[in-house]
């Protein structure tokens, strides 16, 4: 990976093809400079290509081709949607277009909420200091062109400034309404000193979805993020989270991915203040045409901080899981406690897990570890369960849920964790032989 990749003619051609006919959207004038800058940056780095080391395990083609691959709408059967029992302020997007009628008012105690698409916002928006800024910081040492593309072109997104303890979670619901939809959303969250927010995201959102979430967690603030990426088997998504952590702050992000032809979730966290905590976790379950990529980059640049990555993938019928996770400990970031775990449970011989865990450490007094494993369900344990009368299918599900348990433990709120767990269980039950 390098900071200034040499662009080939091919890469330039694919960028031109993608950008032809695209115009920078009209949004709050305060964001226009960041958009123009992003477009310039994009023209320098180009789009991701198969030969890029950062895209070795996941093909970017369908994420960058001009038209998205068609994704027939998913008939969301009769089971309750994720988070439907969680009290929240809900904001709804259909194919990336805000649905004011379906959404709650943008009013919540302790929080200021506005929209990126709101052209009436003046030049002086608080988000100017963050929009495209955290994303730009996250472009080094590895470039993330799909996020740059998003900064330039995302027509809408939610801008959230949290000044106190948010009265309830904010939930973003992404519906897909047409089978060729191509959506981009860019959210900015500023959790001010001592404030707290829980942000939920739910749904596939479009045939192709590109999201960026920039989060600034100030000193002593806490940000909890739980996301479920929808059940459409055909949808494709590229998501980026860029987080900046102040002293004594807490950042927690958990993602449930069940189905989806292609998912690339990148999470870039800069731990800048002392005694901060960053936990990033994910549970992914894939059956068949499923390619799921977690790409994480955590930079420690302060004292006595903790970061944990816990990623679990359950794969069957040729599903593929990818994990690229890096912990970078800068000189002087002493007493860093960095932990990285990525594990796959392969339910058959056709599925595969590709992992590239990395530690790069320039401080001497740190404790960092990583572990990456892939394996099958333990036959001995299965037989033990069966010998007690537990039917094979149920026994397997128990083992799979047990395997994912420590990722789910990373979810702060018990009710939300239980909600996620029950959806995972339902996914498994639907596949019982």
């Amino acid at each position: 990976m390098s900071g200034t990749p040499q662009k080939s003619n091919r890469s330039l051609a694919s960028l031109n093809a993608l950008l032809s006919g695209m115009e920078l959207p009209e949004s709050g004038p305060w964001a226009q400079a960041a958009r123009a800058d992003a477009l310039t940056r994009l023209n320098v780095v180009g789009l991701p290509a198969r030969r890029d080391e950062y895209w070795l395990f996941s093909r970017p083609d369908t994420l960058i081709q001009p038209e998205p691959v068609t994704a027939p709408l998913f008939k969301d059967a009769d089971d309750a949607a994720v988070f439907s029992d969680i009290d929240q302020l809900q904001l709804v997007f259909n194919d990336g277009v805000f649905d004011a009628d379906a959404s709650d008012d943008l009013a919540l105690a302790g929080v200021e909420i506005s929209r990126l698409a709101d052209v009436s916002a003046g030049d002086n928006h608080w988000a100017t200091g963050l929009y495209g800024v955290l994303e730009t910081n996250g472009q080094s040492p590895v470039s993330r062109p799909l996020a740059i593309l998003n900064t330039a072109f995302a027509p809408d997104g939610i801008l959230i400034r949290v000044t106190g303890k948010a009265g309830r979670p904010i939930g973003l619901k992404y519906n897909q309404v047409s089978e060729n939809s191509d959506a981009m959303l860019h959210h900015v969250v500023q959790v001010e000193a001592g404030a707290t927010l829980t942000l939920l995201e739910n749904g596939g959102g479009a045939a192709r979805l590109n999201t960026v979430l920039e989060v600034d967690v100030a000193d002593g603030a806490a940000f909890n993020h739980v996301r479920a990426q929808g059940r459409n088997h055909e949808r494709r998504a590229a998501t980026h989270i860029f987080a900046r952590l102040g002293a004594e702050s807490v950042f927690k992000s958990f993602t449930l991915t069940a189905n989806g032809a292609l998912t690339r979730n990148e999470c870039v966290v800069d731990v800048l203040g002392d005694n901060a905590i960053a936990h990033i976790a994910g549970a992914a379950v894939g059956d068949g045409d499923f390619h799921h990529d977690d790409t994480v980059f955590i930079t420690h640049d302060s004292l006595n901080c903790e970061s944990r990555q816990v990623f679990k993938k359950v794969l069957r019928n040729g599903a593929t899981g990818v994990f690229q996770g890096k912990i970078l400990v800068k000189p002087g970031a002493q007493k860093t406690d960095g932990y990285q775990k990525s594990q796959a449970l392969l339910l058959d011989g056709d599925s595969q897990f590709l992992a590239k865990p990395e530690l790069e450490i320039y401080a001497d007094d740190v404790a960092c570890s990583h572990g990456s494993t892939s394996g099958a369900i333990d036959d001995g344990a299965l037989f033990y369960l069966q010998s007690r009368g537990v039917p094979l299918g149920l026994a397997q599900d128990l083992m799979v849920l047990a395997f994912m348990a420590d990722a789910l433990q990373e979810i702060e709120d018990e009710d939300i964790a239980e909600d996620i767990r029950s959806h995972l269980e339902a996914w498994l039950v639907r596949r019982r032989d």
Partner: protein, 251 residues
Amino acid sequence: MLNIKGLKVKLEDEDKVILKGLDLDVPAGAVHAIMGPNGSGKSTLSYVLSGRAGYEVTGGSATLDGIDLLDMAPEDRAAAGLFLAFQYPVEIPGVGNMTFLRTAVNSQRKARGEEEMSATEFLKTIRAKAKTLKINADMLKRPVNVGFSGGEKKRNEILQMAMLEPKMCILDETDSGLDVDAMKLVSEGVNALRDEGRSFLVITHYQRLLDHIKPDVVHILANGRIVKTGGPELALEVENNGYADILAEVS
């Protein structure tokens, strides 16, 4: 209750024959013990009866109350009333002991067309049974057998047996790893379950256990067959003289 006729078993992946025509009848309400040298096939017999993969039955039959065990899935054998207390209980990280037991109890009930046990009834029952086996609340909460000592694992097996109330209980070296007090606890647990309608097959190397769980019949298993059957005095003979005399006598 349990009727085994001419049972022949080999390993699936190897040409190793382990059981070579084994006959055994355990009537309802009886306690039978099996003793025998290491490697003679005792655990294999218990695994084959409970349906573990990796073995191939090449001859003979095994029935529980007249139904053919060998054709059934392991969970169906359990629901039919067969229980094996493992020589080496298995650890299952991530699955809580309580969840495990409740799932097991209710799976069996469901399979038999009985009503499931409610959460409250289950809690009440398991607390009472755990107490008599000196299994504390913490052990119930922990993942199945994870971090349990050898003796704790064996006690946990007996707790499972007590909760599942099987009619045919096979205990494979449940005494190994138990201290003197635990041996008494476990034996009391077993004796409390003794009943006209329930049978036990107790596999052990030592007379000690049989002082507590008094067998009606003792079998000697050697080289894949029951080579001698007698009363409790047979266990004493083994304790005092080992297997040499018995093996010489039958060969």
